[in-house]
Symmetry: D2
Subunit: 293 residues, 4 copies
């Protein structure tokens, strides 16, 4: 039986508890490692800023462990919203005179319809993922708009069904929260907004005890990935690549400088977003190069 975790009614959302990842909010639910849960999430454009559902207390999670999140499924609604929000977005001040805009995109059968201003309909394949997903920081309450070592608003399309997200645990129970599902997003999320949707996310939560990591990590069937967030953007990339070097060294026997040279030949690097309080880069390496993970 899969537990369903309901989101709050929209009128009860309170940014002091629902727009942060934090160690203070009382758990909304408690799960055993290995358990599968269905979680209802709000769109980032709901009544308060980017509300997140949770926290979920994972039994046995302790600082120094890694939380293992298997993303099993994301159920999309029939439409989503994209927008221009002046004062927000990567080309703010680089394009002249941006005005507020909002478009609704129909979603059906895994296709998203974008209506251009000149009347064409462009179809994009839905590629849903969880934009904001993370654990409680060690002692701060961090806005759900920001990514960081705790996960948070990474806006990383690789947090998608079929992939596994690994998060460092800082507080007992991990205190996991999530929200901000995107039906599809381009790299950089350049205007600051993707196709924002309410959604139902199915996850299996587990633990790797005593596996201490510095930044969020992702495994797909073919790749290992590390997710760094910082400003300026090159520091996000440096965090991601250093974390990859550490992973290759600690778990796969590489010398650090050898790993560094090899990544210079074989890594991939995606800009996840350049619009949030910290920017996010994902570094990737094909699993065939490291032995089975």
């Amino acid at each position: 039986m899969v537990v369903r975790i309901k989101r709050k009614p929209v009128e009860e959302l309170d940014f002091l508890v629902d727009s942060v990842l934090d160690p203070h909010t009382p758990p909304l639910a408690r799960v055993e490692p290995g358990e599968t849960v269905e979680i209802e999430t709000w769109s980032a454009l709901a009544r308060v800023t980017n509300p997140v559902t949770g926290p979920i207390y994972v039994d046995g999670a302790e600082p120094g462990d890694a939380l293992v999140v298997e993303v099993l499924d994301i159920e999309l609604p029939g439409q989503g919203t994209v927008a221009i929000i002046p004062g927000f977005g990567s080309l703010e001040g680089w394009l002249r005179l941006l005005e507020p805009r909002r478009k609704t995109c129909a979603i059906s059968d895994g296709r998203i319809a974008y209506e251009t201003d000149d009347g064409r309909t462009l179809e994009l394949a839905a590629d849903p993922f969880i934009g904001t997903i993370g654990v409680s920081p060690e002692f701060e309450a961090i806005t759900s708009l920001s990514p960081g070592r705790h996960g948070g608003n990474m806006d990383c399309p690789d947090v998608r069904p079929g992939n596994r997200l690994l998060l460092p645990v800082f507080r007992p129970g991990a205190l996991f929260k999530l929200g901000d599902v995107h039906a599809v997003q381009g790299d950089g999320e350049v205007c600051g907004v993707a196709v924002e949707v309410d959604a139902v996310v199915t996850l299996q939560l587990g633990l790797r005890k005593g596996w201490t990591i510095g930044w969020p990590r992702i495994e797909s069937p073919d790749e290992i990935m590390t997710v760094g967030s910082a400003r300026p953007l090159e520091d996000a990339a440096r965090h991601a690549f250093r974390e990859m070097v550490e992973w290759m060294a600690s778990d796969h026997g590489w010398e650090r400088d050898d790993a560094y040279m090899f990544l210079s030949l074989a890594a991939k690097a995606r800009i996840a977003q350049i619009v949030d309080p910290l920017y996010t880069v994902v570094a990737k390496l094909d699993k065939k190069y490291i032995g089975g993970v």
Copy 2:
């Protein structure tokens, strides 16, 4: 008949003329638009810093035109070199105690062999491209280590056979130079060096008269791309994305803010390199969204 443009003997390389893209060096060759040329290039690790072959004067090229470079073929040698150069590389100061390293990688049948420090041989598919390729700046002589609006050391793997590079022309004849072929490179070129090779490059050079562009652009069979370079890295991304918005607006009828929103859903963004004097980002859009280019 294909013209062959020979590189200088290594002992004649002079960094005052061979390590810059500049308006002063007398042309090494002169070509008609539409002509195909074979150009010998030096490895970036040759006697002077990143030597470039040229300049090639393209008849009829005038400021305000775009130079069209069809990359037809890259002939690789039997081996290449990767290295760690202390003081250079994206994790300088982030990984402790980096010492100089140099490895030779055998290349054959489109495969590159990387020998790890613990004795494994990892095979990478060769994916050769031209690391440094550009035209004369308007009035500066810019080190061949730096990318910019003029192209230069973009270290962008998309400048590969089968793709078309478009460069703004700033000086009569364009004064095109190139070098620094990489047999393969990871995104970010994180240690500062790829598999560096001497090579022979086959190109067809053409012109789009009166087509004024702000930054280098690339066309593959499936995508259009823009290449921005700056520090910090987010400004490289902003240049690339703004140039993409301009391209969509000027040639394909998009409203600028509509293009901006759509890129937020559909763009790809690759980090080309974070090791040169300016960093480089490539923004990409699938051609199916813009109508045929």
Copy 3:
């Protein structure tokens, strides 16, 4: 009569409440606008990271007001500590092989003695100020290591006796906290640490009702100042300068572009620190240019 606000015993310090500026911690004291208080502060090197004393609830403070902090006096102890903390500091990775260091500096009669490694004693004039001082953010609990719109760890030497600090109010009562007094600090606080001391600070707290400001501001007898914090450092400067333009426009009748040009001739800009999670710049303008404030 001056109220004395005691700091917690060191063994009771808890980073969940004492290393953040936040809306959740119950007030330690309550004051009327106009009241003078003496506050005991811990050194940033105390048992938990940069502990702050408070919060102090200021009666009548509401979001949209400005909290007015007159810094009257700072009482220094007989010694302070400077240190190198590897992994922290502006030249981390730029100077090789930094090892942990710690030096005690004697303080007496307003003089600080620095003993160099080669046995000289250098005397610096004490110039004490409050390194970390701020109000509760709107809904986050921000680490006391970070500066921001709410004040926090600005490490700005202009928050000194004789000057007035103005802070935006985000929560009822303002929820003011402070700590991290420095006996003296250089611009940039380059190694990450100044002469860190426990101290007793005397302040008068007041309100400007309905005076909404974007960033902390300071008034000395001769200058008005704005304090911006961000990464990269140029964005800290931009926040500070834009806030100065806004101040000149809203309170002193300047056209914004006229203020912008005039600041280009007359402003001063000090780098406060380049070591904290966000960096801090102080922009200054002589009061003679704006009419009496």
Copy 4:
């Protein structure tokens, strides 16, 4: 007898030679070390971008030496110009709708008159300095808009009469150029323009043979200074502070980590400009702390 070096007639200015610092332009004059020269300079707003007068060949200057420039006098004209140039300036995109502006400021008796838009006249004390001053780079021709290790467009108010500028020599004869005098400038030069003037500058040029420095340095009667330029701005500060540590270590017997800690207590840091292709920071230390220089 003082040699007078005339600037070119304005109609002969050519940006290929007059808007760069470069190793190619034939010397305009040749001087002996110790010689005093009067040099006419153009305003940065002259016909071509930021024209510089020179190059001046200093007899005996070799790579690895330092060029010593004693700034003796700057003769100002009766007026100067400040402007807003859209697309240029630190708050471009941060203030809305900047339009081109230009104001003339009368200069007399060491006073500069700024007429505000609302009809007030504000008087600033003239504090003239040389905005662009440097030597030839090793092999590039760098735009006179950019600062760097070679000096160039540092826009640093400390290059003023009474102070001594020290520049690294990269080419035989140093190939010294200068221009862009400012009658007064605020820190940051925030709108991108100061009070721009044509001027006559009196300098004495000398050499420190075999004194190899990494970045421009300045000595005033009371302070030693280092000038770093980079993007982002924190890297400019890091270059300046590391150069100061090196100076203290190599010439004054400090241990590097001791110098680093001491600068954290005693340094000053001014933002020179945040508008040019690289940004500039000046780090300063009181001479009383280092022994006589």
